[in-house]
Subunit: 311 residues, 2 copies
C-alpha cells in the first residue's frame, strides 16, 4: 500500500527541554523519535518549533551573547549533524524548527524541510511574531518573541517535495486564516506546523482553558477551507515551570483529526496522508477559481488594523 501521491507522516512531539539541556542530548531524543518513525514506516517526520533548546522567550535576556547562544549559525551544525546523517541513512525526510542567526546578523524563528535524500528543499521563517518587545514584570513569565525575532521576510512559500506541494508555518502563524489561504492559493497539499503554546495567556487568562480547543479549531478550519493536510506538532509539558499545550495532531483535508498524541511528552503519532484526498474539496466546494470573489476581499490586503464604520 504505497504510491507516489501519499506520504506517511510522523508528528514527533517533544516534551520539555530544560534550559541547561545541551543540544547533543536533545538530538539524542530526536534520534529516538526518528528511529521509532522508521520502524513505523514514516517517510516524513515533523519536529516542533525551536526543537533544539528550551523556549527561551519566556525569559528577559539582555546580553547579546546569552541570547545568541540559543541560535544556530549554521544548519546542519556539529550538534545536529547526527540527525541529518541518520535521516539520510534511513531515507526519512524531516522538518525541524530552530532559532536561526544569519551570517548578516538577522534573527529568525525558522523551520527547514529536508527531503529523504538529505537535500534541504525549503526554509520557512515565522511571519506572525506574537508576544511583546519590552519586559513586563507583572507576568508570571515573559513572552518576548518580539524582542528576539524579526518577522520572516519571505512569507508563505510552497515547495514541491515528497511527491506533493508542501508548506510550512510556525506556532502563532496557525491562528491566522491568511496563513493557510496564501498557501492554499499555491495549491498546498500538506502544511507542517511546529508550536510552543503556554497554557497560560497572561493578557487574558480566560483563554487558558480553551487552548486545546483553539489549537485544533484553527488547524482544522485551515485544513478544510484550503483542502489540505495539516500537521501540528507541539513541544508540550511543563518546561522550566511553564505548562505548555501538547495535543499534536494530523488533520485531513476534511478538517478531521486522524491521528493525535496522547501524552505531553516525547511521542510519535503517524498517519498515511493521501495527497489526492485534497482533490475532493479543491475540485468541488473549494474550487477557488470558480467560487472566490477577491474583488470583495480588498480590506484584507489594503489595511492592517480595524477601520470601523463612521458613527
Amino acid at each position: 500500500m504505497s504510491d507516489a501521491r501519499s506520504v506517511v507522516v510522523g508528528a514527533a512531539q517533544l516534551g520539555p527541554i530544560a534550559r541547561d539541556e545541551p543540544r547533543a542530548k536533545v538530538v539524542e531524543r530526536l534520534l529516538v523519535l526518528l528511529n521509532d518513525a522508521h520502524r513505523r514506516g514514516v517517510e516524513l517526520v515533523v519536529f516542533p518549533e525551536l526543537a533544539l533548546t528550551t523556549f527561551f522567550p519566556r525569559w528577559s535576556l539582555d546580553e547579546r551573547a546569552e541570547i545568541d547562544a540559543f541560535f544556530e549559525r549554521e544548519m546542519p551544525s556539529d550538534a545536529t549533524r547526527p540527525l541529518f546523517d541518520e535521516a539520510k541513512r534511513l531515507g526519512i525526510g524531516f522538518c525541524l524548527g530552530y532559532a536561526e542567526l544569519t551570517a548578516d546578523g538577522h534573527h529568525y524563528n525558522t523551520q527547514i524541510l529536508v527531503e529523504r535524500d538529505g537535500t534541504v528543499v525549503g526554509k520557512f521563517r515565522k511571519v506572525h511574531i506574537p508576544g511583546h518587545e519590552e519586559t513586563e514584570t507583572w507576568r508570571k513569565f515573559q513572552h518576548l518573541e518580539r524582542r528576539y525575532f524579526e518577522p520572516g521576510p519571505d512569507g508563505f512559500e510552497v515547495w514541491r517535495a515528497f511527491g506533493g506541494l508542501i508548506g510550512m508555518a510556525i506556532c502563532n502563524d496557525r491562528r491566522w486564516p491568511e496563513t493557510y489561504r496564501v498557501m492554499g492559493l499555491q495549491g498546498v497539499e500538506l502544511i507542517l506546523i511546529g508550536y510552543n503554546t503556554p497554557l497560560h495567556y497572561a493578557p487574558d487568562p480566560s483563554q487558558d482553558v480553551l487552548q486545546s480547543f483553539h489549537n485544533h479549531l484553527v488547524m482544522q478550519s485551515g485544513a478544510y477551507q484550503n483542502a489540505t493536510w495539516v500537521v501540528g506538532v507541539a513541544k508540550g509539558g511543563c518546561e522550566e515551570g511553564v505548562d505548555s499545550l501538547a495535543e499534536s495532531a494530523i488533520i485531513a483535508p476534511s478538517g478531521r483529526i486522524v491521528a493525535q498524541c496522547q501524552s505531553n511528552g516525547d511521542e510519535l503519532a503517524t498517519a498515511r496522508c493521501d495527497l489526492d484526498a485534497c482533490k475532493s474539496y479543491k475540485d468541488t466546494l473549494f474550487d477557488f477559481d470558480r467560487y472566490r470573489m477577491p474583488e470583495h476581499y480588498r480590506r484584507i490586503t489594503d489595511q492592517r488594523g480595524v477601520q470601523a464604520p463612521e458613527p
Copy 2:
C-alpha cells in the same frame, strides 16, 4: 441584567417550507417564532436564508415568470407587512432572508436587518454563490443558485445597530474565511448568517456525513479568529424530499457554541450576546494592527484561483 452593550439574540430556525405553501402561511410561522422570542426577552430575531419560500434552486426552471414568482419586488410586501408591524409593536429587531428582484431587474439572495423601531438599517446580498448554472440531470436534485442569483455587488458591510457593529452573510459565504475577515477588519461584533444546506452534496458525497461538523467548524473559527459573535440559522428538515441541515447555533467570540437548536423544525434558540466580550480577543491575541502582516497576504486579493509553483 441589561446594558447597552449586550443583545439578547434569538436564532429562529425554520423547518421545511413546501413549494405550494403561500407566503402568508410562512409569515404566520415567523410570527409564532417572533412572539415566542418576545416572551423570552429577545431583542433581535434572526430568520434563515430564503425564509419566505421553499428552496427553489433545487429545481430546473426555465420560465421567467415561474422563477420570478419566488422573488420579492418590495420589502415589506403585502405578505410580510404583518411581520414588520408586529416586530415594531413588540420592539424586536429582526434579520430576514429572501430572494430579491430589484426594480432594474437584478436577482439577489438577500438578507435585511431591521432595528427595533422598524427602520431597515442594512441590506446584504450574498457574495459567494454556490452550485451550478446549467441543469445537471445526473443529480438527484439541482443546486441552480448560479442560474437564479447574481453575486451581491456590495461585499461585506458592517452597520452600527443594536448598540454594536453588525454584519451579515448568507449560507455558502460562511465557508470562506475572507467573509469573516473583511467584516473583522471593520470591527464587527455580531455576524448574522442564514443558511439552507442540503445534507447531500452531489459533486462529492463523502462530504455528506460531515455537514454538521463543517457548518460549526467554519462559523466557530470565523468567530474566534475575528473575535465576534456569530449566529447561524438554518432552514432544516426534509423539504420537498431533500434533507437539509438544521443545527442552528449562537457562537461566542471564543468560538464556543453557547446555544443550539435541538430539532430540525421551527425552533428558537436564544443567548445574551455581550458585545464587550469581543474585546478580550480584539485587544490581545487578535490585535490586528499589532500582529497582522498584510504585506504577505497579497495572493488573497491578487489572484482568484490556484497558482502552483513551477515544477
